[in-house]
């Protein structure tokens, strides 16, 4: 308490310092006047000083003095200060944004209390089916490894109270879900044990957004009954007692879509996620779960069953993102180090100019401690400004770009907050800035160490800087060149990948192809034919409206299709190929050429004689001799019960090969005609109209046919091309990094050459006077530049080779050690480097020798 009061008083002293000092001086003078012999009073100035010391904050004054002094020093070299600050700010902005992204994806992780112990359970990886009876798996028998089995099944609810119908995203969950994920509530209570016992009053938690939008955040909503009709059981509305409100942004599953309703579910459901007990290794849990699954299985388990596998929830969320993020982090780290190296070179050059000043200081008795404090303050100011600017830039950028970054990465950040600058980011970036400041302030010290006294006598001699100095400088520049080359190689590989991808003939034309989905309510439709007729009428109407044919397909492009065994009539062994059902006109709408025969027509789906279209590769593999048209073929779906063969179909067309993915090497595809006859239909239409306009068309058309039909907003098929998007994104990033790094390296080599040229003006003048040609003088600088560039490039090539090995999985259609890429990167860097040397040296060699010799 008294300590606090003392601090407050100290603060008061600090704020009223001038007034207090005046008062003290007045007092002392009055005292001296009253005294008989003022000598006995003592040294007034010293006493005042001591009084001030009592007030404290001396260090603040000292710091203020240091800062003022350092700022003056920096103002004397405005160009250096500007370049250093701006390049550091850019580097730190890059670092901040990368750290923010890495923090959002890798550090913050999933927004559940013990996310690192959450695992997905795969009963049959990667096989097509899992053993039957897993619903009855006895979780108590593995309770020593599994803390909570987490199960949930999705359910859409329709709520019609209050004038309008709303479709809600619901989850039926078990107790393990609530406990294992640590579901917490913003209001009300968490579901308790009794909510999960059969026969108790049905209860529900509602999502925060639903609470806000539908109930106006009314606390009175808790305890109320809500009437919700589940999608799976139309007409059987459930009356659920609202017991609590979920935390804002609570989600579960593949994306961050918020959950509207969480309904406790008493019956056992199949569990696909577990929370392991603390310290249990996943491998041990896998063994125990495999045993438990064997006991629970009600169907014979195939011999090649691999057993239960666990995959960390975090890894599944991140997917292929981790190497991409790590790659970006390494690249940014490299750029930042290059930035620092460049500023270090600038500081070295500046420190050479300040040698005299520092020598004078040392001669006047200021210690190395003082000098280092001065340097630290200077770099501290630069780094602080740069850090502030960098963070501000990032904050502005992230404000607008973070959704775009999430799209480009193909996955939203797992945390509900998205990509933001939080305290973790601030701490990390602050530490980076501090480290940079300390490292940079050490650089000039290395150059001032020995022989400082010589600096004062140097007038007599031509000044050259020490050998170790030059070596350090050259080392930094060579390092910059090497780093730039590594980034250039990385960037080059990505550019080549993108070009290869864009030139890859996918077999269909994604440009302008839109996809959407129509969903019909499960009401009043007696049979599949009724559904089919709705879909057909919808497709026909939209076709008439947009002028381009609407087609349905069972499988979207850019994803590997389900594999069936395709058997030819002749009784020969079948071939594994993709099997997709499509509606009439599919090939013309998708832009897939028909090599022989015809596209599907409207009658094909319903005729008594089933037909099929196969891809060219499949035709060639099934009938190498040709003549596939008119032959009979069927697909055999491999399921748990064995194999379910489809009907024998006549091949009516042979379509061009389609790559479903960029690395789709097996283009054996089998198509059969079908218009959806269920509640859902995914359709495609080629149109250049903007999405909202199309959406409006679709909704109006659907409303005409079925008032309850729900349409998803259309999106471009090309959006699903995540491989290309991701590669392109990485390419842009790396291109930016490489350009920055190369520019800085060039700036560095230019600066060093220009400095050397200035230092050696006298030498050059003497050489000129003795008859050396300009060309010969240029040669001296170019040779020195060549050594730097050569060493840098050689080191960079090794780095580049290592990089391309690391990037193996990110590149497409390019050899890891791609000679052209390396050659072009080297050539670019060397050309730019020599240009920089040339421009810098030209000035020195052109100077009038008489002037140079007379100066000083």
């Amino acid at each position: 308490m008294s300590v606090l009061a003392e601090w407050v008083r100290r603060l008061g002293y600090r704020l009223n310092r001038r007034r207090l000092e005046d008062a003290l001086q007045q007092e002392m003078e009055a005292h001296r006047e009253l005294m008989g012999e003022p000598v006995r009073f003592g040294n007034t100035l010293q006493l005042r000083e001591r009084s001030r010391d009592v007030w404290g904050w001396g260090w603040l004054d000292a710091l203020g003095r240091d800062v003022r002094f350092a700022a003056r020093g920096l103002r004397r070299t405005p160009l250096f200060t500007l370049v250093a600050t701006v390049s550091l700010a850019l580097g730190l902005a890059l670092a901040t944004s990368t750290v923010s992204v890495v923090n959002a994806y890798l550090i913050r992780s999933l927004p559940y209390p013990v996310a690192d112990r959450l695992y997905h359970v795969m009963y049959a990886p990667p096989g097509p089916w899992e053993p039957a009876g897993m619903t009855a798996l006895d979780w108590t028998s593995v309770a020593d490894v599994v803390e909570f089995p987490i199960s949930a099944s999705g359910e859409s609810f329709y709520v019609s109270e209050g004038g309008y119908t709303q479709s809600l995203r619901g989850l039926r969950v078990t107790r393990g879900f609530v406990e294992g994920l640590g579901v917490s509530v913003a209001a009300g209570r968490r579901p308790a044990a009794h909510d999960f016992t059969a026969g108790s009053e049905p209860s529900a938690l509602i999502g925060h957004a639903l609470w806000r939008n539908r109930f106006g955040s009314d606390p009175g909503a808790i305890g109320r009954l809500i009437r919700a009709e589940p999608e799976s059981r139309p007409g059987q509305a459930e009356r659920l007692r609202i017991v609590g409100v979920l935390e804002p942004g609570f989600y579960f599953g593949r994306d961050r879509t918020a959950i509207d309703m969480l309904v406790p579910h008493p019956a056992p459901v199949r569990t696909y996620m577990v929370r392991l007990r603390e310290g249990v290794p996943p491998a041990a849990a896998e063994r125990r779960l495999t045993e438990a699954a064997r006991r629970a299985a009600t169907s014979p388990i195939p011999n090649d069953w691999s057993g239960v596998r666990l995959e960390s929830a975090r890894d599944r969320w991140l997917g292929r993102l981790r190497p991409v993020l790590l790659g970006i982090t390494v690249a940014v780290g490299l750029v930042l180090v290059i930035v620092c190296a460049n500023v270090a070179v600038l500081m070295l050059l500046r420190s050479m100019q300040r040698q005299k000043e520092v020598a004078v200081r040392l001669a006047l008795g200021s210690g190395w401690g003082h000098i280092s404090r001065m340097l630290l303050t200077e770099t501290g100011i630069i780094c602080t400004i740069a850090l502030g600017a960098g963070i501000a830039m990032t904050a502005i950028l992230l404000g607008t770009l973070s959704p775009a970054i999430e799209t480009q990465l193909g996955r939203p950040a797992p945390s509900a907050a998205g990509i933001t600058i939080d305290t973790t980011v601030m701490a990390i970036v602050g530490a980076i800035g501090l480290l940079a400041a300390i490292a940079l302030s050490l650089v000039p010290l290395t150059s001032w160490g020995r022989g400082m006294t010589n600096a004062l006598q140097q007038d007599a001699r031509v000044t050259t800087d020490g050998r170790s100095m030059r070596r350090l400088r050259s080392g930094l520049i060579a390092f910059e060149i090497a780093g730039s080359l590594v980034l250039l190689v990385g960037c080059g590989l990505m550019v080549r990948s993108v070009i290869t991808m864009m030139n890859t003939d996918l077999g269909f034309d994604p440009a302008g192809l839109n996809t959407s989905r129509i969903m019909l309510r499960a009401q009043n439709r007696p049979d599949p034919a009724a559904y089919r007729s709705v879909h057909e009428r919808f497709a026909a109407s939209v076709t008439a409206l947009t002028g381009s044919k609407v087609v349905f397909s069972s499988w979207p492009p850019f994803f590997p299709p389900p594999e069936h065994l395709i058997e030819p009539d002749a009784g020969e062994p079948g071939i594994v190929g993709g099997a997709i059902s499509v509606s009439a006109g599919y090939f013309s709408t998708f832009g897939v050429p028909i090599a022989q025969g015809r596209d599907f027509t409207g009658e094909d789906a319903s005729t008594e004689a089933p037909v099929a279209v196969i891809s060219e590769t499949l035709a060639r593999r099934l009938w190498p001799a040709g003549g596939a048209l008119g032959r009979r073929v069927r697909d055999v779906a491999r399921t748990q019960g064995g194999a379910t063969p489809g009907p024998w179909r006549t091949v009516v067309g042979i379509a061009g090969d389609v790559r479903q993915t960029y690395d789709d090497e097996d283009r054996s595809d089998f198509y059969w005609p079908r218009t959806p006859d269920g509640r859902f239909g995914t359709f495609y239409v080629r149109s250049n109209q903007p999405g909202p306009v199309l959406f409006d068309h679709f909704q109006r058309t659907a409303a005409h046919i079925d008032r309850n039909a729900v349409i998803n907003p259309p999106r471009l098929v090309a959006r699903d091309d995540q491989t290309l998007a991701g590669t392109r994104f990485l390419t842009w990033l790396l291109a930016g990094f490489a350009a920055t790094a190369a520019f800085l390296a060039m700036l560095g080599i230019y600066g060093v050459t220009a400095y050397a040229a200035q230092q050696r003006r006298k030498e050059m003048a003497i050489r000129t006077a003795l008859g050396a040609s300009r060309r010969a003088l240029m040669g001296i600088f170019l040779r020195e530049g060549a050594v730097l560039l050569g060493v840098g490039t050689a080191v960079g090539l090794f780095g580049g080779a290592a990089t391309s090995r690391v990037m193996r999985n990110q590149v497409f259609g390019v050899q890891p050690f791609d000679a052209p890429t390396f050659a072009i990167a080297c050539a670019l860097l060397l050309a730019a480097g020599f240009l920089a040397v040339f421009v810098a040296a030209r000035g020195a060699c052109a100077a009038n020798p008489v002037g140079a010799l007379n100066s000083n």
Binding site: L24, E27, E29, A30, E33, F41, G42, T44, R50, V54
Partner: protein, 96 residues
């Protein structure tokens, strides 16, 4: 402690405090009078004395220092401490 003791009698300004210490100590203690001021700053900071503006005999603006309750407590504390220590020293000196 001396300053606190002097102020216990009533509020005084700097010169007066120095004079009182001088006379009370029977002119034995006469240090540099100026060192009074850093000491006063410390007491102010600790909250043991309070200052209020006043006018000196020569018509200059000075500050009068007054003991606060906390200062009074501190004085008692230090007095007790001092007595204990001197008593202990005395005991040692007498027996030795």
């Amino acid at each position: 402690m001396l300053i606190l003791r002097v102020l216990a009698a009533g509020s005084l300004h700097g010169y007066a405090i120095a004079q009182r210490i001088h006379t009370l100590s029977r002119e034995e203690l006469s240090v540099e009078e100026g060192s009074l001021y850093p000491a006063l700053q410390k007491l102010l900071l600790k909250g043991w004395v309070k200052a209020s503006p006043a006018i000196s005999e020569t018509g200059r603006a000075v500050r009068e220092y007054k003991l606060t309750p906390a200062g009074r407590k501190q004085l008692e504390h230090e007095r007790a401490n001092y007595r204990r220590v001197t008593a202990a020293i005395g005991a040692v000196l007498d027996t030795a």
